[in-house]
Amino acid sequence: MRCDEFTVAYLSGDAGESELRHLAGCSDCEADRPALDAALRLLADSQMWKDPAPQLEEQVVALISGSVSPAETPATSRKQWRTSLVAAMAAAGVVVASLAVWALVRTPGSDWRVSMPGTAEAPAAAAVVEGWNEPSGTRVVLTVTGLAPAPPGSLYEFWFSQENLHVSAGTFTGPGEVEMWVGVSRGAFPRLWVTLEPIDEDETPSGVTVMDTAP
């Protein structure tokens, strides 16, 4: 048996007596076995099979292409992007990129910041959320763009969630900068999301999610 045959059999779980005999007498294969075991552990781990959110590609493209680059003037970009329906989405991307770049390069003051993309309910919406961890909770500033004003009789609500536990940070009615407070930490409640809520007595999140850090 050759070493590469042993490796294939070991990885596929088909190693039988002849493979084990080979392993017993082959120092090269014995030396490779920890790497093979590590590979098998990784292949069984769910993280190896998960993909990033589909909209992350657009966010990366907008983040880079919307940034000022020595090789391309902003005027050229704007001229190209005005020519089609796609231009509207690209322009929204530039706004997202500008927000993201702004969030990245501004003077450090917040303890954390995260971008919150729009969902299928509001694909042009985006927000940058900045947070300050305080002893009794978290102060957050939400900078929202591309979101239509809430229809009459409704408003937007910003949530911190840990699986099925949801804590509201407050409500707002449309794009702009909103400052809020929530009595939990982002570490304990990592999912940040915004829903469109009817003004009623129901205090649970509606099914209409417009922005979400965990799509």
Binding site: S12, L42, Q47, K50, E57, V60, V114, P190
Partner: protein
């Protein structure tokens, strides 16, 4: 040079450095999943991993005009991704703990020890034909037998066996490459 790297030429990299959207897309398609997996395997948090992807490509863009196109692009991007993941891990530790000791922040968890393997295996899975990848996923992630895999995928058991053999041979070739790279 892998199939992925063959798709990213020096011209694409120069356009990427200039912020050309199509070039950004090409690079993202080639490496985005591997960057995500590297960050996710280390940080174990989807939101942080996606933030790491954005920061990795942003930092790569900022450094792209200084990249030597004679070098292999993958290890360079991997190094950026891992460094970004380390920075994010330390940032989160600072903010989640009350007052962690600096030495505590300096020690990285075990999940960071296998980020290179995670990168390479994810790239191998990405380069593999989908039919072979499905068999690998069913076998290793779902833990199915070949008979169960055949039923799940609507294939004959013999077909599953042959695909499994080809897929594992491909993985074995990758691991040989991994051994060379880390030697």
């Amino acid at each position: 040079m892998s199939d992925i790297e063959r798709g990213v030429s020096g011209t694409v990299l120069r356009k990427f450095a200039a912020g050309d959207p199509e070039a950004v897309r090409r690079l993202y398609h080639a490496y985005g999943r591997a960057v995500f997996t590297t960050a996710y395997s280390a940080l174990r948090d989807r939101g942080l991993a996606e933030e790491a992807v954005q920061l990795t490509f942003l930092q790569a863009w900022r450094a792209a005009d200084r990249f030597d196109i004679e070098r292999s692009l993958g290890p360079w991007l991997y190094a950026i991704a891992r460094r970004v993941a380390v920075d994010l891990y330390r940032r989160e530790r600072r903010h989640l703990g009350s007052e962690p000791l600096e030495a505590d922040i300096a020690v990285l968890p075990a999940s960071f020890e296998t980020t290179w393997q995670a990168w390479e295996i994810r790239r191998a899975l990405q380069e593999m034909p989908e039919a072979q990848r499905d068999v690998i996923e069913a076998t290793h992630f779902l833990g199915l037998t070949q008979e169960e895999t055949a039923k799940r995928l609507g294939l004959a058991v013999g077909t599953v066996k042959s695909r499994s053999h080809r897929a594992h041979r491909r993985l074995a070739q990758l691991l040989a490459h991994l051994e060379e790279a880390t030697a």
